[in-house]
């Protein structure tokens, strides 16, 4: 019933865009496979929204190419690009009913009243709002409005679906629900999708691949699992997931690092000379804590989260360390007790600035 021109391939080539002194895009390269959902993730001002708006035609580039199915669309105005876009909020036309909002793009494409109303109704069914067709946007909740916006974007059978932080104005529960729904719809329709967000959990849970951006460039673009397990740079490591920062010293000819008397393997050896003071990045699940009366670490917080328990321990030098332990193993580690801390199970990265 719902068909789209499935799977346009999108490619950004050396995109550059400056706003005065600020380089919003600094040679951005990105390839999105047909039917793939790629999330662009990064701190505010990293250029992720600019990249999406460039693809939509709402922003110009200073140089570079934007290829959709192999042809450059840089000179094509926004209204000729066939991009379905969902904005952060308040993008529904207040003067039109829900049905007319969804049918808006079809009307511009010269479809007759019956055809476009039928199709708009189908799309509203798809997002579960077919009973709200006659309402006006101000009569809907935020989550419902975003569903309508999604239906409206999909109605025109766009080549690419662009989602510009569509969930950030919603409250937590609705956000998770709609996030899963967007993914379900996207897989069903099979449309190439670019999703921009600053929320790492959102990006990791919805995307085929996540592109982490920093200062107008792509730091790494990989599957959520790979991004988490094998971050290419310290920036990615710190931005995705939670990280502990530990003071350490480089040893072993630049291949290892000494943290509180433990020798840890470096994931990227040889970058710093022996003896250099560094900050070592360790994930909470890589930290081990064992109850030991002569242990150097002192437990300060114990937060039960179901299968895992997050513990906070303070090291002798005053550094607070987060550790995720299976709840059974953490049962005895109550605040005030002493423990031995271990960091060594996996190769570690060094923070960029130390």
């Amino acid at each position: 019933m719902i068909e789209t021109k499935t799977g346009a391939a999108v490619e950004f080539r050396r995109l550059r865009r400056e706003f005065g002194e600020v380089k919003a895009l600094d040679g951005l390269n990105l390839l999105i496979e047909p039917g793939e959902l790629v999330a662009l993730l990064g701190p505010s001002g990293c250029g992720k929204t600019t990249a999406l708006r460039v693809l939509a035609g709402l922003e110009q580039v200073d140089s570079g190419e934007v290829l959709v199915d192999g042809s450059d669309v840089v000179g094509v105005p926004a209204n000729k690009r066939d991009m379905g876009m969902v904005f952060q909020a308040y993008s529904l036309f207040p003067n039109l009913t829900v049905l007319d909002n969804v049918a808006f793009g079809l009307r511009l494409r010269g479809q007759g009243t019956t055809t476009r109303q039928k199709r708009a109704q189908e799309l509203l069914e798809l997002v579960g709002l077919d009973t709200h067709a006659k309402r006006y946007p101000h009569q809907l909740s935020g989550g419902q409005q975003q569903r309508v916006a999604l239906a409206r974007a999909l109605a025109i059978e766009p080549r690419v679906l662009l989602l510009d932080e569509p969930l950030s104005a919603l409250d937590a529960q609705v956000r998770t629900q709609l996030r899963d729904e967007i993914r379900r719809l996207q897989l069903r329709v099979g449309i190439t999708t670019l999703f921009v967000t600053h929320d790492q959990e959102e990006a990791l849970s919805i995307a085929d691949r996540v592109g982490v951006m920093k200062a107008g460039r792509l730091e790494q673009c990989d599957t959520p699992a790979a991004l988490y397990a094998r971050p290419a740079t310290a920036f990615v490591a710190e931005f995705v997931g939670t990280m502990n920062h530990l003071a350490g010293t480089v040893t072993g000819g630049g291949t290892e690092v000494d943290v509180a008397g433990q020798r840890l393997k470096l994931a990227e050896p040889g970058e710093r000379p022996d003896g250099a003071a560094v900050r070592v990045l360790v994930r909470p699940e890589s930290v081990t804590l064992e109850a030991a009366t002569d242990g150097q670490a002192r437990i300060t917080d114990h937060s039960f989260r179901g299968a895992v328990t997050r513990l906070t321990a303070v090291l002798p030098d005053g550094t607070a360390v987060l550790a995720d332990l299976p709840s059974l193993a953490a049962a005895e580690l109550l605040p005030g007790s002493a423990a031995a801390a271990g960091f060594g199970s996996r190769p570690v990265l060094l923070a960029a600035d130390a």
Binding site: A56, L58, N79, Q88, F93, G105, L162
Partner: protein
């Protein structure tokens, strides 16, 4: 309770301030010889030559002013909001100029500028339309500015663009319907201005309704007051019709 009483007192005082002179005028316009009352003055008024011609001219000028104002100002103010929001202050300043510049200067300026213009403009009320568009600028700009400020203009425009709307469609289908009350407000103000403006029309020797009102009123006291009331009544009627039209549209949208 004191609050409520205070409110009613103020309302009553203001009501009296506006209504007493009007009631007195009505009474005066109905006076006849020997302390009797009749419609004699009103009868004479309708017999005066030129009533419908000048009223027609004024309505024509009003329509032209409203149309030209909206044609120029809606796209301009929208563009400023979308692309040059920093210019809003400057625009506001410029739009206030017609309030500061004396009408006689305005007239002379227009006459000089259009001295070589074709006769369609110079010898006809078209020149009044051009003047009134400028004269109404302070009201028009502020009304449209407030209307555009109240909607999420950039997002709505971008949404429409991405759905395939060209700039004309954006203007007519997205911007206009969503600032409808501001557009009607601007139209009200234009209409009220045109139906009450005497100075410019008088200097330019145009036979508009306000000019006719003044000329006719000079003949006889009773007629003069009847004429003033009549022009008030015409303005009320037109504004009422406009607001009913605007109100009905809003009801259709389900917004009370």
């Amino acid at each position: 309770m004191t609050n409520k009483w205070g409110r009613w007192t103020v309302l009553t005082l203001f009501g009296l301030y506006f209504l007493v002179p009007m009631a007195a005028s009505v009474e005066f316009s109905l006076r006849d010889v020997n302390d009797t009352h009749s419609f004699a003055s009103w009868g004479k008024l309708l017999d005066e030559p030129g009533l419908f011609e000048t009223l027609g001219t004024s309505l024509w000028v009003a329509a032209g002013t409203v149309a030209l104002t909206l044609l120029i100002m809606v796209p301009t103010v929208s563009w400023v909001h979308l692309r040059k929001p920093k210019l809003r202050r400057l625009m506001e300043g410029i739009s206030l100029l017609p309030l500061v510049i004396p009408p006689i200067v305005l007239v002379n300026g227009v006459l000089v500028v259009f001295a070589d213009a074709p006769e369609v403009i110079n010898g006809t009320p078209v020149i009044l339309v051009l003047e009134y568009v400028v004269l109404a600028l302070p009201f028009t700009y502020r009304t449209l500015d407030a209307g555009l400020q109240a909607i999420a203009l950039p997002t709505l425009v971008e949404a429409a663009r991405s759905l395939g709307a060209g700039w004309g469609t954006v203007l007519l289908r997205v911007i206009m319907p969503n600032i409808r009350s501001a557009v009607f407000g601007a139209a009200f103000l234009n209409l009220a201005l045109v139906l009450g403006e005497y100075t410019l029309a008088g200097i330019l020797l145009m036979d508009t309704f306000p000019v006719w009102t003044v000329q006719t009123g000079q003949s006889e006291a009773g007629v003069s007051v009847a004429v003033s009331l009549f022009s008030l009544f015409v303005a009320f009627l037109l504004l009422f019709v406009l607001s009913v039209v605007a109100g009905r549209r809003r009801l259709e949208r389900g917004i009370a």
